[in-house]
């Protein structure tokens, strides 16, 4: 059974393992530096669907289908799908998971959803009530633009701190067994609000939450940053990364620069692909973790990774009402057995 260590970290006596994972993306991601890592890169962001919501649902469906297949499992082996996305009422997850005929738990964690879902899945598997749980997420550049920003064809200029929502779906199957990659510990983050109100600077909204979660995780586990091969944040982008490094030193006295990476900085070539501060969205950390990171762990290029999914809990209406954008960061430790 799980036990609490320190104040916030949950430790698993018999750690759940990652049985399989899959990541599918859109066209721009397929032209980026990680293109070869993904299971599929669709050349048409519409995926032949009638609208962006359906296209995003298809990305989630594809990721979950492929993850189950790669784990050599049947749909009937899956006890629960835990999934979430950015769209109102989590419609991409609902419609993407609808046809599996598997129990579904929809969650909202903004861009931290992948880490949040993985932590929940690990807890559920550890509790013995579930054998195999799928953690999944999706986001789509076009559906996110439509919901949070401007119509696609609107000719505006983006701020340098703005990020590009990743088009993709990611899923992993977490279960019991003797697979190579285990989840020995996880931690849910605290809502952290440093008063950022600029919706074009999500990295700044999330960096304080990331710094806090990393510091609390290290404190509870008695680890140092160097004990990890990589501390991987979700989608801080270049601006958020710079802020995280400063906050880590100033507020918590830890130097993250030798081990820190950010999925938002990895997925696009920011300059060539006009991604400004980098990638963002649920699928940003989702597709990076469910492809490259888990592969590198499997192939023993990495042995111990702290995945800190970062989310900006932003509501466009609330921002217009003059309120802030609180951040959150959930941590999942991934270890090569």
């Amino acid at each position: 059974m799980a036990s609490k260590i320190g104040k916030n970290v949950v430790s698993f006596a018999q750690p759940p393992c990652v049985i399989a994972s899959a990541a599918v993306t859109g066209k721009t991601e397929g032209e980026g530096p990680l293109a070869r890592e993904f299971d599929a890169c669709y050349p048409d962001d519409g995926l032949g669907k009638a609208n962006w919501n359906e296209a995003e649902a298809e990305l989630l469906f594809q990721a979950v289908t492929r993850a189950i297949e790669k784990g050599r499992l049947y749909r009937s082996d899956i006890d629960l799908i835990v999934a979430g996305d950015l769209l109102n009422q989590c419609t991409a997850s609902t419609f993407g998971a609808k046809d599996f005929g598997v129990p579904f738990a929809g969650i909202f964690g903004a861009c931290s959803t992948m880490a949040y879902a993985m932590a929940l899945a690990a807890l559920l598997v550890d509790g013995k009530g579930f054998d195999n749980v799928v953690a999944a997420t999706s986001s789509h550049f076009c559906s996110a633009e439509k919901q949070f920003r401007f119509p696609l064809e609107y000719g505006g200029q983006r701020a340098q701190t703005a990020q590009r929502t990743v088009t993709g779906g990611a899923a992993c199957v977490i279960g019991r067994g003797y697979e190579d990659i285990i989840i020995p510990r996880a931690m849910f983050g605290k809502i952290t609000d440093y008063g950022i109100k600029d919706a074009a600077n999500m990295g700044a909204a999330m960096a304080p939450a990331a710094a806090r979660s990393i510091a609390e995780y290290l404190e509870d586990t008695g680890a140092e940053p160097e004990d990890f091969d990589m501390i991987l944040t979700g989608d801080l982008g270049s601006t958020g990364t710079a802020l995280l490094h400063e906050l880590a030193v100033e507020q918590y006295g830890m130097d993250l620069t030798p081990v820190h990476e950010d999925c938002g900085n990895m997925i696009f070539d920011a300059r060539k692909q006009d991604a400004h501060s980098g990638g963002s969205g649920c699928a940003c950390s989702g597709v990076v973790v469910c492809s490259r990171i888990l592969r590198q762990l499997k192939e023993e290029e990495l042995r111990r990774v702290l995945f800190v999914g970062t989310g900006a809990l932003m509501s466009p209406d609330v921002v217009l009402q003059g309120k802030t954008i609180p951040g959150i960061a959930h941590a999942v430790e991934l270890v090569r057995r």
């Binding site: 119509p151 064809e153 609107y154 000719g155 505006g156 200029q157 701190t161 950022i196 600077n201 601006t239």
Partner: protein
């Protein structure tokens, strides 16, 4: 009194956030906006040359710019050009046309009435509301004090 930690963070954010290239944007806006206005002047000369009265010709110029913007928005090239042109394309009537057409296109998936028609003016709405409001105020001032 110690400084509000949020204010200290805000300062750090401002220091570490890259700024938009103001000078470059201004030059692009000047050149593209200027080019658009030159094009409009040429149209005006052409329309008056073809026999239109000055007032009619001005209306025809606006109609032409709006129609061309709608066309290029629908073809998916306007936003790519406007990204560089910035205010140069946004301030003239082309910006208004683009905001209407792009919204109409985006929400067409929600139906002709509740999608396209309802959402068409989500971006252009403020221009219409405050444009009309200030026109009315100006009209009243003109009527009572200047006429």
């Amino acid at each position: 009194m110690t400084e509000n930690p949020n204010a200290a963070y805000q300062k750090k954010v401002e220091a570490l956030s890259p700024k938009s290239p103001l000078l470059k944007n201004c030059i692009w806006a000047f050149l593209c906006g200027g080019a658009l206005c030159l094009f409009a002047e040429l149209l005006f000369t052409a329309y008056t040359g073809w026999g239109a009265a000055e007032k009619e010709a001005r209306t025809c110029v606006s109609i032409t710019i709006v129609a061309l913007t709608a066309l290029f928005t629908a073809l998916g090239v306007y936003d790519k050009a406007a990204k560089h042109a910035g205010a140069g394309f946004a301030v003239p009537i082309s910006g208004f046309a683009n905001s209407v057409v792009s919204a109409a296109m985006e929400y067409s998936t929600e139906g002709r009435i509740l999608g396209t028609a309802v959402k068409m003016f989500t971006l252009a709405g403020p221009v219409i509301v405050y444009g009309c409001s200030f026109a009315m105020i100006y009209g009243l001032i003109y009527y009572f004090f200047l006429m």
